[in-house]
Structures are given as structure tokens and as C-alpha cells.
Amino acid sequence: MRGVTPARLWSLGLVAPPLVTALLFFLGPLIYLFYVSLHEASSTELYGARFTLANYAAVFSDPFYFLIIKRTLATASWILALSLLIGYPVAYVIARLPPAKRMLVMLLLLFPLMVSNVVRAYGWVAILGRRGVINTTLGDLGLIDAPLSLLYSTQAIVIGLLTILLPYIVISIANTLASMDTRYQEAAQSLGAGPVRTFVHVTLPLSAPGVASGLLLVFLLTLSAYVTITLIGGPRTKLLVSLIYDSVVGFQWPQAAALAFVLLALALVVTALILAIMRPGRVQGSGR
């Protein structure tokens, strides 16, 4: 048995502040939230006294909730597919730039991520809105008589969130590609594989860790992007996160808590799915 030495005490004192903060203000409140989700609503307290599963049953029996969950998953699937389709080629080009130029381009990708999402969503409103860049330009050219309605649809949400989150997947894939040992590709080509075969059988599988972490980030951020979804999708195009917000501000706390855990469950299932398909663990040295 190891005794309490001054060195051990010292190192426990070191980890105590971050550990207590993480337990008290992260893990603890989440457990409390789960506890609240298992109780009935109350008009005077945060939640009622009686234990119930009704909040979860409501999510699975109400066709409205079902529609919203389906729409959320469909929107997220479009965003994931398009972000990979556009992000991969861009990352591929960036990874092959000389280091100094690559850093400059990476900075250009990192900068938008530092800007608040409300500003970037407002930018899309300013471009796609009734008085936006596209409508005024087309109107001035005499191509349209009345402004086109380009906002307030799931398509608009896909465009907005796709462009807001695209840098994450590009950076993630570009980093993996840039740190890849090019001798694998050279070996494949010296064994007679053409550029396409080399890409499909060597480069693509080796970049799986970057693709997986990029997709995960894009998906998780899509799920909780309430402000972007509200500004671009408008008051009627709701996704799961909008329902959570509406329930919170409507003081339906236990119901909102149950919806929050439905969202977390979706996040877990899709995360597991992405990891199962991409299998980033296969690639050696992926645990950076």
C-alpha cells in the first residue's frame, strides 16, 4: 500500500480544481438533467414529484416529434455527404501545397471558425434574404420581377450549415493527408497501380482517421446549431434542437430534458455508425 506522501498530496491538489469543476459543472448537471427527464412537469417547481417515463414515450408516440427527428437526420445526412464531397478534394489540394503556402491557406480556413456563428448565419441572410445580394442583383439586372424566397427551408439550412462547418472537415482531412508517408503511394505505383487505384486502395483508407473525425465534428455541431437553424430556417423549419429550445423557454423542463437525451442518443448512434464504417483504428498511428 502506498502511503500519503507530500508528492502525492501535491499532485492531487494539482488536479483537484479542474476535476471538481468538471464534475460539478459538467458531469453533475448532466446527471441531474437525466433525473429531471424522468419526472412529470410541475407548474411551480423545476419538475414534479412523480417518477414517469411519459416524457420519453411522448417523443416516440407523437408523429410531430417523429417528423422532426426524421427531418433532422435527413438534413444532417445531406450536410455530411456534401461536406465530404466538397471537403475531400479541397483537403487533397491543400495537403499537397508547400508547407509555407499550406499554413497560409489553413489560416484562411481557421479564421472563419473563429468568427461567431451568428455573424456567419447573418451573412447568409444578407446574401439570400429578400433584400439580399442575390435578389437585389437579379432585380437590378431585370431578371426577376419579385424577390425569390431563398431562405426559410431545409435546403437553406443545409447550405448555411454546410459552409459554416466545411472548414472543420477540410482541416481534419488535410492534416491527415499532409502527415501521411508518401512512400505508401510510391510503393503502390511501383507495383503497377494507376493513380485511381492508388487513391482508392491506399490514400483513401489511410485518410480514414481524418475523415472520421471531420465527419463527427460536422455532425455534432449540426445537431446543436440552434441559432444558425433559426436564422436561416426561419420560425417554421424546425429541427430537433429547436424543439428543445422551445420546450425550455416554455418551461416544459422535464420534456425538454427528455428531448435533450434523445438528441444525445442520436449523437451516440451516428458516432458509432461513422466509426464502424470508417474504422479509423485500423490505421496505425491514428491515435494522435
Binding site: P18, L19, Y122, T136, V227
Partner: protein, 267 residues
């Protein structure tokens, strides 16, 4: 390898890359350009240059105080978060095993956790213990900022030669002196880089602030959001957005002068 690309392939590649950067950067550029417009409503490109909407921004009490509140909040939360993240990294860096793995996962978790749910959970928790929202928001942002510093400092510690710290201790320095006189001077650029990311994240954060702000204590992003929702898109919002972007450029530039651009890009 690029020499293998045929001309049509190179053209397609160029179009895809140009398109990607256009859709990523255009919304920010449009907002910044519009902020300097003298017109009442959105007109792009603006007919002439004017600072009218910036005057308007600082004339509006709500906007001005939200801007100042956001700066104070980000300074406090980033400093608090950087302190916690550094302590956590110093503890985790030299250990292995399951408990340590769990600790690492716990300290990194707020980075990928849906923040809107964290905000809601904290709202309920603060209500149940009667905690005021403003210090609560500061802690929430510190929790979200902590992983950035944890990650950069941990990477920096792992690349240190352990012999340097051992030398300090074999010369008679205790753990505290070794940390302050040997380790800190070597890892402070990582601490500052982590602090920068924590600041930037807090300054633009929307999801926890959505629930943890109230009248009189609202952050700039939330003020912009509610203005857009309830007052329409007047150009004072473009000015507010430009100030949001401007302050970030300023702080990144400042930190970059000290630690170098490479460290920020390849955090």
C-alpha cells in the same frame, strides 16, 4: 504528384477549391462591407463609405454594454479555463492507466459535447441551487474553454524531454519550484495559445449563452441574434458583426506576435 494531373482535371480541381473558399468566406466579407454603408438598408456593394452604423452601435446602450460584457466575460472565462486546463494537463501528462484515460476523456469531453444541452443542464442546476446566472455563464465558458488549453499544454508537455524536469528535481527543487521555474517557462506558449482559443470560443459562443444570459447581462452574439429576430436586419447588426470579427483579428494578431503564427495554425 500534381504534374500527373491532366488539364481538365486541374480546371475542375481549381473550380472546386475556389467554390469552397467562396462559400466559406463570402458571408463574412458581405457583412463587413455592408457595415460601412451609409444607406438605411442593405445594399451591396454600398454606394459610398460611412461610419454611420458604428456611431449608431455605440449610441445604443444594449449593444455597447453587450460588447463590453462579452469582452470581460471572454477575458475571465479564458483565464479561468486556461488555468484549469493547464493544471489538468500537468497532472495527466506523466501518468498512464485506466483512471488517467478516464480523466483525459472527462477533460476533453466539453469540446465535442453538444453545448446547447450543457447550457440547459447548467440552467436547471443553477436554478436548483439559486446561483446567479452571470457567474454561472463565466463558469460555463471556462468549462468549454478548458479543453483547448488542456490539449495544447498536454501536447507541449509530451514533447518535453523528461530529463529537464528530472534535472530540476535532482538539484533539489520541489515539485512546485520545478513547475514554476522549469516547466512553465517551457510550456507557456502552449498555455497562451490555449488561452487564445478559449477567448475566441467564449467571445462567439451562442449555445450556453442562449440560456444563461438575461436582461442587463447579455453577450454580443446573443444581442445580435435577438436583434435579428425581433427588430429585423438593420445595418447596425452589420456593424456589431464587424466589431465581433475585428476584436478577434486584433487578439489573434496580438497573441501571434508573441507565440508565432505556426503554433496557432497547427495547434
Amino acid at each position: 504528384m500534381s504534374s500527373r494531373w491532366s488539364l481538365p482535371a486541374r480546371i475542375v480541381r481549381g473550380i472546386v477549391v475556389a467554390f469552397a473558399f467562396l462559400v466559406i468566406l463570402a458571408p463574412i466579407v458581405v457583412v463587413i462591407v455592408a457595415a460601412f454603408s451609409p444607406t438605411d438598408f442593405f445594399k451591396f456593394p454600398p454606394p459610398s463609405f460611412s461610419l454611420r452604423w458604428f456611431y449608431e452601435f455605440f449610441r445604443l446602450d444594449n449593444m455597447r454594454s453587450a460588447f463590453l460584457f462579452s469582452i470581460q466575460l471572454a477575458l475571465g472565462a479564458a483565464t479561468f479555463g486556461a488555468l484549469l486546463g493547464t493544471l489538468a494537463a500537468v497532472f495527466v501528462a506523466k501518468r498512464r492507466g485506466i483512471v488517467n484515460g478516464l480523466l483525459q476523456a472527462l477533460f476533453m469531453a466539453p469540446l465535442v459535447f453538444p453545448t446547447i444541452i450543457l447550457g440547459f443542464a447548467l440552467l436547471l442546476f443553477y436554478k436548483s441551487v439559486d446561483m446567479p446566472l452571470t457567474p454561472g455563464l463565466l463558469i460555463a465558458h471556462a468549462v468549454i474553454g478548458m479543453p483547448y488549453c488542456f490539449r495544447t499544454v498536454l501536447a507541449s508537455l509530451q514533447s518535453l524531454d523528461p530529463a529537464i524536469e528530472e534535472a530540476g528535481q535532482s538539484l533539489g527543487a520541489g515539485p512546485l519550484r520545478t513547475l514554476a521555474l522549469v516547466t512553465m517557462p517551457l510550456i507557456w506558449p502552449a498555455v497562451l495559445t490555449g488561452w487564445l482559443f478559449a477567448f475566441v470560443v467564449s467571445f462567439g459562443e451562442l449555445n450556453t449563452a442562449l440560456f444563461l444570459t438575461g436582461p442587463g447581462a447579455t453577450t454580443l452574439p446573443i444581442e445580435i441574434f435577438s436583434y435579428l429576430q425581433f427588430q429585423g436586419s438593420q445595418l447596425v447588426i452589420a456593424a456589431a458583426s464587424t466589431l465581433q470579427v475585428g476584436l478577434i483579428i486584433l487578439i489573434v494578431f496580438g497573441v501571434q506576435q508573441v507565440v508565432g503564427l505556426r503554433r496557432i495554425v497547427s495547434r
